[in-house]
């Protein structure tokens, strides 16, 4: 595609800043020398991903990303980091010695995925972007055609939840229990 054609499409004007913010904050998440800064860059990356989903008129996915990931998961990250230690400034311990290997793996993965998608789709245009999918259609699909996968996922999540609680719980010996009861 010619660069002129590309620029004359208004959707690209929105896409380009979003993509740049996404790439920049994605890189900063791993290179930042402060845990909390890294978590905040993750917020930026997730927010621009939500923006990309909005561009694809997938409102529900975009809002779920904001509500679940930014509003709950990252908040829990930050909460967990801050309640244990809240380091300000740089932490050199965050520089892992094998970071060059990690960078190599990341670049290789990026190349593999980019090559794969370009090979598979080429310059084919994404179909079916227009009006956002209404909640009604989504709900019908989830509880109609996809009800079995939906239930399986819910069941797995419940199992994971119970497993997490069991692993985190510390079973007390009778003597310890007595001591705990005495307090």
């Amino acid at each position: 595609m010619q660069i002129g054609d590309w620029i004359s499409q208004p959707v690209n004007w929105v896409y380009l800043p979003l993509a740049l913010v996404l790439v920049y904050s994605g890189i900063r998440v791993v290179t930042s020398q402060n845990v909390i800064r890294a978590a905040l860059f993750l917020v930026g990356a997730l927010a621009s991903t939500a923006g990309l989903f909005l561009l694809l008129s997938a409102e529900f996915v975009a809002l779920t990303l904001v509500l679940v990931y930014i509003g709950a998961v990252i908040v829990l990250f930050l909460f967990g980091i801050m309640i244990t230690r809240a380091p300000l400034g740089r932490d050199v311990a965050l520089d892992h010695p094998s970071r060059t290997v990690g960078a190599g793996v990341a670049v290789a993965l990026f190349g593999f995925l980019a090559f794969g998608s370009i090979q598979a789709f080429g310059s084919a245009e994404v179909q079916g972007i227009g009006e956002p999918t209404s909640t009604e259609v989504l709900g019908e699909a989830l509880l109609g055609r996809f009800v079995v996968p939906f239930e399986v996922v819910s069941f797995l999540l419940l199992a994971a939840l119970i497993g997490g609680i069991t692993l985190a719980r510390k079973d007390l010996s009778p003597a310890e229990e007595e001591a705990a009861g005495a307090v």
Partner: protein
């Protein structure tokens, strides 16, 4: 004229202007109401001199004062994060206003996922509060930020679950659609009567109001800024207009959460016996009156209840509000299927 008004960009500019002006205006009105009502409830006079009668100019004087003050940043603070935190809190407060309908066709943007959008955007302010608490490099700020985050996580769940009842009743997540469902509830009988959902969803309404008080960190849920323990919590180090941002965001959030409660449970802009044309003109006034009642309730609570302890706060959220709202969803679902 009408052609000019129906242009997309003209409409966008008008909507942005309304939202940008509404927030400071609402902040001033609610702030002033709070000053005067608190004074009344404590047998004081309250603001008296500024502007002559009733001291109506007190809030304008306060606003000017904040802009004159120096914008201080603590030496140890994480500067970019510290400076951005109040902006994020205020932006999330303004962005909630988008899907709230002021009349049948007076709405920022009627989103199909209106309720979901409101909950998603309001959860952004938690990040801003945590950013403010951490980046201030102050132990009181950090403790305030942590308390606020713990509280907001705990009360977001009942807040979300409480609105599900109203969504099931209306069968849509669009805020305009929910108002419409309340306005035309009995219309199949040709009575022209509606039914505000508070009559059948009182449990949901009560849980929503309690949870929104907690989300606002107002008394009796104001541990994050408990002045007798934490100076001013996560706002401690802020001064000047960044302090004002937090202040405005609190009042704007009071307004928008009351607006959502009014829209979901009290019928929003709708009032019985008015045609659609009249509702477009009088709707904003009707909605603001309902919001005013809810805001008055919040101010009244502030001077009626003592502050909860941290463990009491968590107990109320997890052991009472969440089970109650789950039971409410179950009951609403069963009744909806049967009726």
């Amino acid at each position: 004229m009408m052609e000019f008004l129906s242009n997309f960009w003209v409409q966008l500019v008008i909507k942005l202007l309304v939202a940008a002006l509404l927030v400071p205006l609402v902040g001033m009105v609610i702030g002033f109401a709070e000053m005067k009502l608190s004074a009344k409830m404590q047998s004081r006079v309250g603001p008296y001199f500024a502007g002559g009668r009733w001291g109506w100019a007190q809030l304008i004087a306060d606003g000017v004062k904040f802009f004159q003050k120096e914008d201080l940043v603590p030496a140890e603070a994480d500067r970019p994060v510290y400076k951005f935190a109040p902006v994020l809190v205020l932006v999330s407060a303004v962005a909630i206003l988008v899907p709230i309908p002021l009349g049948p066709s007076v709405v920022g943007r009627d989103l199909d996922l209106g309720v979901f959008y409101v909950l998603a955007v309001s959860s952004l302010s938690t990040i801003g509060v945590l950013m403010a608490g951490w980046s201030s490099a102050n132990k009181y700020s950090l403790m305030g930020g942590l308390r606020a985050a713990g509280q907001l996580i705990a009360y977001e769940l009942p807040l979300i679950l409480a609105v599900v009842g109203a969504v099931i009743m209306a069968g849509t997540m669009s805020l305009s659609g929910i108002v419409n469902a309340q306005a035309t509830w009995f219309s199949e009988h040709g009575w022209g009567l509606g039914m505000p959902f508070v009559l059948v969803q009182f449990v949901g309404f009560a849980v929503f109001m309690i949870a929104s008080l907690a989300e606002l960190a107002r008394i009796p849920f104001d541990m994050p800024i408990a002045e007798s323990e934490l100076v001013m919590g996560y706002i401690t180090e802020y001064s000047g207009f960044r302090f004002l941002f937090f202040f405005l965001a609190e009042f704007a959030n009071m307004f928008s959460l009351s607006a959502i409660a009014a829209t979901l449970f009290l019928g929003g802009y709708w009032a019985p016996g008015l045609s659609e044309r009249m509702l477009n003109i009088l709707g904003p006034g009707i909605l603001f009156a309902k919001i005013g009642i809810l805001v008055f309730l919040m101010i009244w609570f502030r001077w009626t209840f003592p502050r909860f302890r941290e463990d009491q706060l968590q107990t109320i959220a997890w052991k009472w509000l969440v089970p109650i709202s789950l039971a409410n969803i179950l009951a609403t679902g069963v009744i909806k299927v049967i009726v």
